[in-house]
């Protein structure tokens, strides 16, 4: 974990004023980063917004890391107007990251909206993966598909308005998929997205006795485990999303 001033290589608008992909040059963080970890960054050095904002590491290319983010408020709005060559104050990599599957498991990735960000990075470290499920409100919220090409796997898509793939929720896709996976191998699901989706994914996983890792979001203050601000209720008491997570075994969480 370190605090660096990272140069912006690119801050690309993927969908006007909505989704952006930011590339930062930061060799030490790029070297240490593991899938599921995040960076905590200051969108500017003013007092507004006051706090840092956390973003999953979306991918790593040599000395650079990328994040994929959605403009949801003032902080991400300001971030989206930062320009190439400017410096950003970044702390990272933070959090535990995904526990990589052993080879004898079938891996399913389930992404909702910008939640796809961390699963892209995870996919770079996977040997194989029978299915990637991506859901969003409409086709414009379906991101990062190209990053999974390497896996040569089937990508299934759902949108709430039916504008792409199956009309409905990404958990509907999961619901359909699991019974079809007649396989002696254990199944492990990695899920990242809105809380509701994760909760539903956890339920489905439990029903099918699949192992399920979820990447949770909570309001992050320090990001390093010091302030206890990001507590999430688990069967072993409160845990810190930023340090004990953000990735948890779904069975541990009290949903």
């Amino acid at each position: 974990m370190l605090q660096v001033k990272a140069r912006i290589i690119e801050n690309k608008e993927l969908l006007p004023e909505t989704y952006y992909r930011l590339s930062l040059k930061t060799p030490p963080i790029a070297r240490l980063a593991k899938p599921g970890q995040f960076v905590h960054l200051r969108v500017n050095e003013k007092i507004f917004p006051l706090l840092r904002r956390p973003f999953s590491i979306h991918s790593v290319h040599k000395e650079n890391i990328q994040i994929l983010y959605k403009v949801t408020g003032a902080g991400t709005g300001i971030l989206s107007r930062r320009k190439k060559d400017e410096l950003l104050d970044v702390i990272g990599p933070l959090g535990n990251g995904y526990r990589l599957p052993d080879k004898r498991t079938k891996v399913i990735l389930v992404a909702g909206g910008a939640g796809v960000a961390s699963l892209c990075f995870l996919s770079q470290r996977l040997a194989s993966c029978p299915a990637v499920l991506i859901g969003g409100r409409s086709k414009r919220d379906i991101l990062g598909r190209d990053k999974f090409k390497r896996l040569k796997t089937k990508i299934k898509i759902s949108t709430e308005d039916g504008s792409l793939g199956k009309k409905g929720l990404v958990t509907d896709l999961l619901q359909e998929l699991l019974p079809t996976l007649h396989s002696p191998l254990p199944t492990v699901i990695y899920a990242c997205g809105p809380m509701k989706m994760l909760k539903e994914t956890a339920k489905i996983a439990e029903r099918h006795r699949a192992l399920c890792y979820v990447s949770l979001e909570e309001f992050i203050v320090c990001g390093v485990g010091a302030c206890q601000g990001c507590a999430v209720r688990t069967k072993n008491g409160y845990k810190r999303v930023c340090k004990d997570g953000p990735v948890f075994d779904s069975k541990e969480i009290i949903w």
Binding site: L50, I91, F219, C227
Partner: protein, 304 residues
């Protein structure tokens, strides 16, 4: 260039520079070890511990406000036993920086038990967090002169370690509370703790924090905190650790000029762990530019 002297004394505790990491904002030291070199700061105050471990308040525990942080961590902590066994030894062994241990009890007896556990430790001092609900229904010890006097007096009898009292800003006259603490034998005053506050979610019609009430910290409160340091400086001659919204060198100077012998960094650490280094460098530049050289000369130098 003439040598700049940042040394400052908090009674018997001498600090190599005036920067104190405030309680609750750097955990027990290990969490920030990669980002802040504890050897660089003047002193650290550990997260308030209680006799028994505390799980803390239900989430959400923090919301961001206009230039502020509203938190209801609820004193989540590992409890005295784990702290003494697993956390404190590392802190004392690895760093030369004075370690002040913050404690809170639900009864006077709990405070005294904690004191007896700490008395033989090689710590630089004990800070009494007196902002825990205790007196009557809604008030805390630190909001009442008599209760403050009583607790500090009782604790004073039981320890020879430097005794810090952390004052609550939620009072009519902080000078009076400071005076009670002084009379009862406090060695050092820390101020301010967080301001009692609440966040409301208009969409849901509910409080934003799981614990409903929270404490406000950060730049938003700085002007009020500064006023309180000023008030306390005028009523007592005890050393003061001033804090509340300090986020840069100028803020630190403002507290020192107003009367703080050392300054506490809380919320700003979350925003910029590198701030300790930045402020140390900034203070040096200021003292050299103003040809003052000794930080000590600045303390309470406010011209009115």
């Amino acid at each position: 260039m003439k040598k700049i002297n940042l040394k400052t004394n908090l009674g018997r505790i001498s600090l190599k520079n005036p920067i104190v990491l405030a309680s609750g904002c750097f955990g027990y030291g290990d969490e920030y070890k990669d980002l802040i070199s504890l050897d660089d700061v003047g002193a650290v105050v550990t997260k308030t511990i209680t006799l028994k471990p505390k799980a803390g308040n239900p989430p959400p525990r923090v919301v961001e406000t206009a230039s502020g942080i509203l938190n209801s961590i609820g004193l989540a902590n590992v409890g005295a036993e784990v702290f003494l066994k697993e956390k404190l030894p590392g802190l004392l062994k690895k760093f030369s920086t004075p370690v002040i241990v913050s404690i809170a009890g639900e009864t006077r007896d709990e405070y005294l038990k904690l004191i007896s556990l700490l008395n033989r430790k090689k710590i630089a001092g004990i800070e009494l967090n007196i902002s825990c609900p205790n007196v009557g229904k809604d008030l805390t010890i630190g909001q009442d002169e008599v209760e403050t006097f009583g607790l500090v007096k009782a604790v004073r009898k039981k320890t020879n370690l430097p005794l810090l009292v952390k004052l609550s800003p939620n009072v009519t006259d902080i000078g009076k509370i400071a005076k009670s603490a002084e009379k009862a034998g406090a060695d050092i005053l820390s101020l301010v703790n967080t301001f009692s506050a609440i966040g409301i979610d208009a969409e849901t019609g509910r409080a934003k924090l799981g614990g409903v009430l929270g404490g406000l910290s950060g730049p938003a409160i700085k002007p009020i905190a500064l006023r309180m340091v000023w008030q306390v400086r005028k009523t007592t001659s005890l050393p003061i650790i001033g804090m509340g919204g300090i986020a840069n060198t100028s803020d630190a100077l403002e507290f020192i000029i107003t009367g703080a012998n050392a300054i506490g960094l809380g919320s700003a650490i979350f925003i910029n762990p590198d701030l300790c280094r930045e402020i140390i460098a900034g203070l040096k530049r200021y003292l050299s530019r103003k040809r003052i050289y000794n930080l000590d000369k600045l303390v309470g130098s406010l011209i009115v």
